[in-house]
């Protein structure tokens, strides 16, 4: 049930520009959009890293020790550094766009955007602290 | 060189036009008339084709309503979307005698205010009907989804406007026209979706086809391809707006023009009161010689803004350094009971007077202050922002000044034309089957239109009057009978093609716009806010000269087959050049002052318009008799049974 791109009465002389394959490099805002979308790659990579952690823990203390050594190599540190930047970018864009996607109403009045954004950041802070405390508990 | 100069002699034998106003008491006329009308049965409506030219408030409303009733409707717009029509630019609001404020409003009061506001040059019967319908219009618009401002309980909010002492203007922030037009546009789109209306965009009407004395079709030009085409039908509705652009600089959209009504006039439709033009008091002043359009600031601003100029001549101080005692709030001084809400013609004229005294402000001294400092102090900036925020933003966008801090500068500019094609009570022109709606007709505003009445009239015509009266006309005529192969259609097409070819063939040196600008200057100087016999005679000498030069020296570019904006424009300027002359003839013949028509020879000792009801209590309707011939004057006498003729006073 596609509407199709009808251009009737399409005048043969009217000029239609083709979109370049490099359209996303033409303006910074498009590039930023594509970078935002590519954060998902790092999200997925880190999910795989988490899998690896679990696997190593399951194999036993030696495997866990090897994992720690492996994580300390420059390659992994750099990879994690890059991933961290992208994941942060993901978090920030995700929180900032949240009020657009979700309108919160309280007694009929629309909550201002900053309230929605603010509560996202607050939740982020609380959850991060909780994870850190639980994970690093001795 | 051609001339058609002259004041038509007072012709006692001038034919008297009859508007066929139904008999009976005024509050029963429309109801009674509707009952007496013939009806087309719903099953037969499909067989009738109605051509609606224009898709603004009146046109879209008429096309949508007629389509909904089951007629086969074709609607034409020269824009690329019907919603671009200039009705969108109306900001302030729409009047309705709902009396929500319990401030003594009623249908009769709206009727009374409108007749008085029009300086007793409108038809009582029409105006009463308009006031009556104002109630239905609001409900209809609300049902269509117009986002009117609301009060806490969910009822509509309203405010006051010029020329009225009650609060009856309903609004959607500063964009009422836009929202009303969207309402009508949606109704139209809906009918397009249902198949009862066919919409022709980028299609300009260039001629009217009259067969056996009836309007049966139109000739159009496709603006994108140049194709000349014809459409025939059983009735034609013109809803093509006003002709303020004859002044070149006006608040009208750039494309607004008189071509449709002027060509219909040349085919036999009488033109009524062409000299009744409205100069709106609150516009952003002209800022340079290259300006191509003026911008209106809504009259609603006068609710809270105070108009003033310095008392001293040539006072060059910035406004905040002029103490209260050295300011002249001249509207409040001269018209204490209406103050800043005096009607438009009066407010405009007063602004011109103070600027003529060299007390004007801003570049060139052509401006007065509209000051919100008091209102902001009284109500707070946030209230003012809520009420007028988008207008203040627009002002800042155009002038770069923040009107919350410094007073706005405003000056009058051409805005609306009360004149237009003559129509009877049924909105039918002197050509049977030709109906004219909205600003294109002359019907309801007399010599001056009150604020927030244009939207009301356009919608009354489109939603309620035409659907009834067009049906009544069609019920008396069998459907169909002509096609585009009819000799009269072909002849009209050939004439249009010849005109286009002539324009393309001139190949002169001057741009179309330069002619338009020169014509506009002549009209503004001599047939603008104030007129006198000498000036009008001068203009009547100048305009034919300009027309002659146009014919020899205009440069129209390129060819017909494609989008050619200079060709479009040239055709419109040709018509303005002819219409301008008729405006001056009318202004010259009407040796009185009334409403927007201010003849300097006819004023009271304190500078107010001085009517001559003895000689001029009539509608002047001009019949076209050829480019070189003197137009023939017909008169429709005006009788005032309910609102007694009196010198208008807003003091």
């Amino acid at each position: 049930m596609s509407l199709g791109a009808h251009y009737t009465p399409y005048h043969p002389k009217w000029y239609r520009r083709r979109v370049s394959v490099w359209w996303w490099l033409q303006t910074w805002s498009y590039t930023r959009f594509v970078l935002r979308e590519l954060t998902s790659v790092f999200v997925a990579l880190f999910a795989v890293v988490l899998l690896w952690h679990i696997w190593a823990l399951e194999l036993g203390p030696e495997a866990y020790a090897r994992l720690l050594v492996r994580l300390g190599t420059p390659l992994f540190v750099v990879l994690h550094g890059v991933a961290f930047v992208f994941v942060l970018f993901h978090s920030i864009t995700w929180f900032n766009l949240a009020p657009k996607a979700m309108v919160v109403r309280l007694r009929g009045k629309r909550m201002p955007d900053w309230v929605v954004v603010g509560s996202n950041y607050a939740a982020w802070l609380v959850l991060s602290l909780a994870v850190a405390v639980i994970l690093l508990r001795r | 060189m051609e001339t058609r100069v002259g004041l038509p002699a007072e012709d006692p034998a001038a034919s008297r036009l009859d508007a066929e106003i139904p008999p009976g008491p005024i509050e029963r006329k429309w109801e009674r008339h509707r009952f007496d009308m013939k009806l087309v049965s719903p099953a037969n409506r499909r067989r009738y084709t109605i051509l609606v030219v224009g898709s603004g408030l009146a046109g879209a409303a008429a096309a949508a309503s007629l389509g909904e009733m089951g007629y086969n409707v074709k609607c034409f717009s020269y824009h690329d979307s019907a919603r671009r029509a200039h009705s969108i630019a109306a900001q302030g609001g729409i009047n309705a005698a709902k009396n929500y404020r319990n401030d003594g409003d009623s249908v009769f009061r709206l009727f009374y205010d409108t007749v008085k506001g029009g300086d007793f040059r409108s038809r009582e019967g029409n105006v009463y009907r308009l006031a009556e319908l104002s109630l239905n219009i609001i409900d209809q618009c609300v049902a269509q989804g117009v986002p009117f401002a609301r009060e806490y309980g969910g009822l509509l909010d309203n405010r006051s406007f010029g020329g009225a002492q009650v609060s009856r203007t309903f609004y959607a922030r500063g964009q009422t026209g836009q929202q009303l037009l969207l309402g009508a546009y949606q109704a139209l789109q809906r009918q397009v979706g249902l198949g009862s209306v066919t919409l022709f965009i980028r299609t300009e009407m260039l001629d009217l086809v009259v067969i056996d004395g009836r309007a049966r079709g139109i000739v159009t030009r496709n603006l994108a391809t140049g194709a000349i085409e014809s459409h025939v039908g059983d009735a034609v509705v013109l809803a093509t707006g006003g002709y303020s652009n004859v002044f070149y600089l006006s608040t009208n959209a750039k494309a607004s023009n008189a071509t449709a009504i002027w060509r219909a006039h040349k085919r036999g439709a009488f033109f009524a009161n062409p000299c009744f033009t409205q100069i709106h008091p609150t516009c952003i002043p002209v800022s340079g010689e290259y300006q191509s359009k003026l911008t209106l600031m809504s009259e609603s601003l006068r609710n809270d803004g105070r108009v003033w100029v310095p008392k001293k001549i040539g006072d060059g101080r910035p406004p905040d350094q002029i103490p209260e005692s050295e300011r002249d709030y001249y509207l409040e001084r001269k018209y204490p009971s209406y103050g800043n809400l005096a009607p438009r013609d009066i407010a405009s004229h007063a602004a011109k007077d103070v600027c003529d005294e060299k007390r004007g402000v801003g570049p060139g001294g052509r401006g007065v202050y509209l000051d919100f400092a008091d209102a902001i102090r009284r109500l707070g900036e946030s209230v003012i922002r809520e009420k007028y925020g988008n207008l203040f933003d627009m002002y800042e966008r155009i002038t770069g000044e923040n009107a919350y801090r410094v007073p706005m500068r405003i000056y009058p500019a051409p805005h609306y034309t009360m004149g237009g094609l003559w129509v009877d009570y049924n909105l039918m022109a002197t050509i049977p089957g030709l109906f004219v709606a909205g600003e294109a007709n002359f019907s309801d505003h007399g010599a001056n239109r009150l604020g927030a009445s244009a939207l009301m009239q356009g919608l009354a015509d489109g939603y309620f009057i035409l659907p009834a009266t067009v049906g009544d006309y069609l019920a008396r005529t069998p459907p169909g009978g002509v096609d585009t192969g009819h000799p009269a259609v072909e002849a009209a097409e050939a004439e249009v093609a010849t005109r286009v070819a002539q324009l393309l063939g001139i190949r002169g040196m001057r741009t179309v716009d330069s002619f338009h600008r020169e014509l506009g200057q002549i009209m503004w100087d001599h047939c603008g806010m104030a007129r006198n016999e000498g000036g009008l005679r001068y203009a009547l000498g100048k305009i034919p000269e300009l027309r002659q030069e146009f014919r020899e020296n205009v440069r129209v570019l390129e060819r017909n087959e494609e989008l050619n904006q200079s060709l479009e424009k040239a055709g419109r300027v040709v018509d303005f050049l002819e219409l301008a002359e008729l405006m001056c003839i009318d202004a010259l013949h009407r040796a009185e002052s009334c409403g927007g028509h201010f003849r300097e020879e006819h004023q009271t000792p304190d500078g107010e318009a001085l009517r001559d009801d003895e000689r001029f209590a009539y509608v002047s309707a001009w019949e076209y008799t050829g480019t070189l011939a003197r137009p023939t004057l017909h008169k429709e006498p005006l009788a005032f049974e309910y609102v007694h003729l009196a010198q208008r006073s807003y003091r």
């Binding site: 000029y15 657009k100 996607a101 979700m102 | 609001i138 609300v142 789109q189 002038t399 330069s514 494609e562």
Partner: protein, 246 residues
Amino acid sequence: MPATVALAVARYRPEEEPAPTLQTYEVPFREDWVVLDALNYIKDRLDGSLSFRWSCRMGVCGSCGMKVNGTPVLTCAAFLSEHLPGPIRVEPLDYFPVVRDLVVDLSDFMRKLKKVKPWILREEEKPLAEGEYRQTPDQLDAYKQFSMCINCMLCYSACPIYGLEPSFIGPAAIALAQRYNMDSRDQGARERLEILSGYDGIWQCTFVGECTKVCPKNVDPAGAIQQYKLTSAVHWLKTLLPWGAR
């Protein structure tokens, strides 16, 4: 402030050239001039053949949208002074066929707009005699933002998805559908659902967000689309339930 400023204007004369080219004009610089004034100056004094559409010059008719230095704007609101030192590049809106110079053809949008039924739909119309529909300021507030759309097409021109997938209904049409969905007087949300959440509807959108950024009327089409995604997803979940919405 400079005395003059250069404008590089896209010209396309279909009878002469296969693709648009840029032509440079030197116009006087004035503080209070917008790009549209400069174009009018060119048309009036330098080159009468330049074609572009405009109408109201007050930001409501939606005719004069063009790309200025790569960004879609209303040229009646784009001050020259914001784009100094120049040359200021003026081009037609992206993704629509160019008719001539700066004039584009919008038929595609006109056709799509109709599909989302942007008018009040009611199961039963109330007769006029019963008076007006009531609506509280809060109910008005729910859709008011979306009612400001002037169909200027800047959002389409800013949307790469529309460029890549011309069948996409697009930002303005969806925002206008939402304008009616959210109106307390409207009962047509179900009727619009099929087209809005269909193949060419909201799911094409990847939330680039540029439509909202270029909107001169703060309509926020991107928000409208994302909000509708949630509506559509909730509707989908409900259809799973045995007693759910059909």
